[in-house]
């Protein structure tokens, strides 16, 4: 699983209230959420997010358990998030919604806004210019969930499997 895209670079400790404010949590509609992603810091974010890869600093997605944070980023067209580290719940929510998330220490000093990067989701390798950085790939059950397109699809298949 290889994803490629232009970098949108964000800082350390990006929290879920910034990714999607609580006032939007009464909806789970991906299109609605996408329009409000990162609203407190950049209300126009969704317009430039299509096909991008977010590169961020430490504990990306810290804060609340709101799954809408991952849904909104994915629905805005972001192909993957690569961060120095992730908050535990956000990481799970990303995988559960088919959004690749790669922890890659050192990434923020190697990448700048607008760079084209390529990410091998399984090995965790991130290709930047001529350089290869080694991050933490997605493996095991998380990879199966990601490949199924998210936890709902994964659970549906399990249900069908057990019926069949």
């Amino acid at each position: 699983m290889i994803v490629e895209g232009r970098v949108i670079k964000l800082g350390d400790k990006i929290d879920t209230d910034v990714i999607i404010p609580a006032k939007h949590l009464k909806s789970t509609d991906p299109q609605y959420l996408a329009q409000h992603v990162f609203e407190p810091i950049d209300p126009e974010f969704y317009k430039k997010a299509q096909g991008a890869i977010i590169v961020a600093g430490k504990v990306f997605g810290m804060g609340s358990s709101r799954e809408q944070a991952a849904i909104a980023i994915k629905a805005a067209g972001v192909r993957a998030v690569v961060a120095e580290s992730f908050a535990r719940i956000f990481y799970r929510n990303a995988i559960n919604n088919g959004l690749p998330a790669i922890a890659c220490p050192g990434i923020t000093s190697e990448v700048k806004d607008g760079d084209l990067i390529m990410v091998n989701v399984e090995t965790g390798e991130v290709m930047v210019g001529g350089k290869v950085l080694r991050g933490k790939g997605v493996s095991g059950m998380a990879l199966e969930i990601l490949k199924a397109g998210g936890l709902i699809e994964y659970l549906k298949r399990l249900q069908q499997g057990s019926r069949g």
Partner: protein, 415 residues
């Protein structure tokens, strides 16, 4: 020689686990509230399974949208009410009961359990020595259906609380002290196991607040090692006698260890817009404040109300002040003890059992340029309303003193 983390997760997974292992565990309790609950139910519907692993194992309490501020919120609650009725879930609590995390600690969680909650402040239940994790709606739906969840066994980190805190220093200041020292990114992938050297000196209310703030430290879990204070709490709140519980083995291996001398912990405040931007209240004493909020799953317990009432006794608030006890039980006890009367006479607006302004939903949303001091847990940009508002996080004594003086203050400054 095992830590509490390893003991609980070994039991729950049915095999001997070590830090770093990815394991599937049986969960004892699955819980959600209104704002995540409708999403959990939606996921179950999309998967096509409308059943839960054990009706008594599911706890629901409405708190974020209490009472409903708009039609959509009312609809969300209607959906969950119907679900609870259809599946005959006995542990469903409607508007007027309490904030989910407070309800879990008051009435349900037992030491050594595994608890999965559709809310990040799930860590709160660690106060009783349970392994509690917040997860998103999809994960919680899966756990509610199957009674199982997968997780990574965290690296256990030992924190020792020594001595006793000074007057009016509570669990909130101790949480902020940990965040001041370690910052919000240090504990990623770790579980904090807190040992209290003098159990009585750090009562359950304080422990609940520290465990609650565990998620702000980005710890995978924060657990207080159960002791006589844990037994006392269970006896008083639930009439349950429990003298033996899971504790770490002496000589268990921790990734590292840190001791806090409680009597050195100061009145601390997290300045905007990060929980680890911690300063002493003195450094911030010039900051003028429009609104003070005393409440939430972090700072709305009886001990918080007691401190606030003592500081405000016979005074009038200068900042607008909103007080929200975390549950009906807390509120009722605060009424009996006269705290509510004192706070109302000081000019506070008082209600109970709602998250209220903590998430900027209702009951005191901040406007552009407004400054708040709050006993809640997050001061992120726009958390309590306008992205142009500012939130300072404190314990109850600083919050109450601030309300009286209209600027950030220590309780000793109140005349």
């Amino acid at each position: 020689m095992k830590t509490l983390t390893e003991k609980i997760l070994s039991r729950a997974s049915g095999r001997e686990v070590s830090p770093g292992d990815v394991v599937e565990v049986g969960v004892d309790l699955v819980a959600f509230h209104d704002l995540t609950g409708y999403h959990v139910i939606e996921v179950m519907e999309r998967v096509g399974v409308k059943k839960v692993f054990r009706p008594e194992g599911v706890v629901i309490a409405f708190d974020h949208l209490v009472p409903p501020p708009d039609v959509r919120s009312a609809e969300i609650q209607q959906t969950i009410r119907r679900f609870a009725r259809e599946l005959k879930l006995p542990n469903f609590h409607d508007v007027g009961y309490g904030i989910l995390h407070q309800v879990l600690v008051e009435s349900y969680v037992m030491p050594g359990q595994v608890v999965v909650v559709a809310d990040s402040h799930a860590s709160t239940s660690g106060a009783l020595g349970a392994f509690a994790q917040g997860m998103g709606a999809s994960d919680v739906a899966a756990a509610a259906i199957t009674g199982r969840a997968w997780l990574t066994v965290p690296q256990p980190f030992k924190v020792v609380l020594e001595g006793r805190p000074r007057q009016w220093i509570t669990g909130k200041e101790v949480s902020l002290e940990i965040l001041r020292v370690f910052k919000a990114d240090y504990f990623v992938g770790m579980s904090i196991e807190a040992f209290v050297e003098e159990p009585k000196a750090f009562p359950m209310d304080y422990r609940i607040t520290v465990a609650n703030m565990g998620v702000e430290m980005n710890a995978d879990a924060l657990m207080f090692v159960p002791d006589e204070e844990t037994s006392k709490y269970l006896k008083e709140m639930r009439g349950v006698s429990l003298s033996k519980f899971e504790r770490p083995d002496s000589g268990a291996k921790y990734v590292d260890e840190y001791s806090i001398e409680l009597d050195n912990v100061d009145f601390l405040v997290a300045a905007p817009s990060s929980v680890d931007n911690v300063k002493s209240a003195r450094e911030l004493s010039g900051v003028e404040v429009d609104v003070v909020f005393i409440g939430s799953c972090t700072g709305g317990r009886l001990s918080d109300l007691e401190v606030a009432a003592k500081v405000m006794k016979g005074k009038r608030v200068r900042s607008r002040c909103i007080v929200v006890p975390a549950s009906w039980r807390t509120f009722k006890r605060a009424l009996e003890l006269g705290y509510v009367q004192t706070l109302v006479e000081a000019g506070c607006v008082v209600t109970y059992g709602t998250c209220g302004p903590c998430i900027g939903g209702h009951f005191g949303v901040l406007g552009p340029g407004e400054v708040a001091v709050s006993t809640s847990n997050r001061n992120f940009i726009g958390r309590m309303g306008s992205p142009q508002s500012k939130v300072y996080l404190s314990g109850p004594a600083v919050a109450a003193a601030t309300a009286v003086l209209g600027r950030i203050a220590e309780p000793g400054e109140v005349p």
